[in-house]
Symmetry: C2
Subunit: 185 residues, 2 copies
DNA sequence: AGCGTTTGAGACATTAGTGTCGCAAACGAG
DNA sequence: CTCGTTTGCGACACTAATGTCTCAAACGCT
């Protein structure tokens, strides 16, 4: 196989990030395969979108796993919790394009299975935020779901910064961590 | 006229916020007019989208004007600058749906005129951020364009919080201001 | 009530995208 | 080199949405 399904999915995600209305023909082209071959891999457009969402969630989950989010959520040491949050932000920046698809694309919100998985991943983060609040790493006065949405928003902003070229990729993690913990003031 | 263009635009924006792929027939229905009448007001779908984008920008601009953004950008008093930033965030929450359309919809990025106007409004905010940095209200170490994107991201998160019902509308401005200036830590 | 305007309903042609198929060419393992 | 598989290409039917048009009904104003 000259072009694998993985490659098709990757190309499609990246293309859709800037052209959310791209057609199957467009996506076939950017993947370097014919329209027929694309349909051989993904029988329908919906199939493809689900695969993209699934990949996005897999990247997200892997970022969470790579920092040991579950163990960290049971942690009470402030420094460790702070470190885990920082590491997670950094890991998410690395997969900004893929994870960003999960954040912003409409495909996620119409497929019950993807939605459920996304909720699960979000719940894991919320558990981490709650642990961080108990340890005094995050302010206890903020609703934990607001922290989650603000976190999500900052990541959207980070992706946008990278896309526009406003911030160098190597500077992004530090800025993001700094802004999340201490704000802009 | 039973239904004005304003009402059509409002209904369309709100509907598109949750159903970004709605058809003209859908939008006619939520506006309470027939498809033919919708086409009498907006000759093409593109026409309508441009009108929506224009409305979104108008709301955004009005929010900026209501806090006197231009005068504030020439200001050097920290308290005043901080107040202006807070007021602007609050004003933007009030038009979260309309302004949010400008933030997230693809229509903005394909129309040169809308894009130009959006850039202009963004530049006005950036001038305000820069003034705030000079006055020590915002950290000078952060790239001003990153501040702008983080600000934008937090607003996206705020809109999402409201849409989901995670945060009460009356609590939103305070949370947003608090998080923007001091972060979650 | 009468008149000019606006609206809704439906029919229509057109377009763009989707999904399927068959066939010939390219490819790769043996 | 040869055979089985995979690919690209083009054709095709089908669908959904768009934009146009006509006509009769509803409406508002005087």
């Amino acid at each position: 196989m000259a072009v694998t399904e993985e490659q098709i999915v990757t190309a499609a995600i990246h293309h859709l990030n800037t052209r959310p209305t791209a057609s199957m023909a467009d996506l076939a082209e950017v993947a370097g395969v014919s329209r027929a071959t694309l349909h051989r891999h993904f029988s329908s457009r919906d199939d493809l979108l689900v695969a993209l969402g699934s990949r996005a969630l897999a990247c997200w989950e892997e970022a969470q796993d790579s920092v040991g989010i579950t163990a960290a959520a049971a942690e009470s040491d402030p420094d460790r919790l702070r470190g885990t949050l920082s590491d997670l932000l950094t890991a998410l920046v690395d997969v900004a394009d893929e994870h960003g698809f999960a954040l912003t694309d409409h495909a996620m919100s119409v497929n019950p299975d993807l939605l459920r998985r996304a909720d699960e991943l979000e719940d894991r983060e919320i558990a981490l935020f709650a642990a961080a609040q108990r340890a005094g790493v995050l302010r206890a006065g903020l609703p934990v779901r607001w922290i989650s949405n603000a976190w999500y928003g900052l990541l959207v902003g980070a992706r946008e910064s990278l896309r526009r070229g406003d911030v160098a990729r190597r500077d992004m993690p530090a800025l993001l961590v700094e802004t999340f913990f201490r704000g802009a003031g």
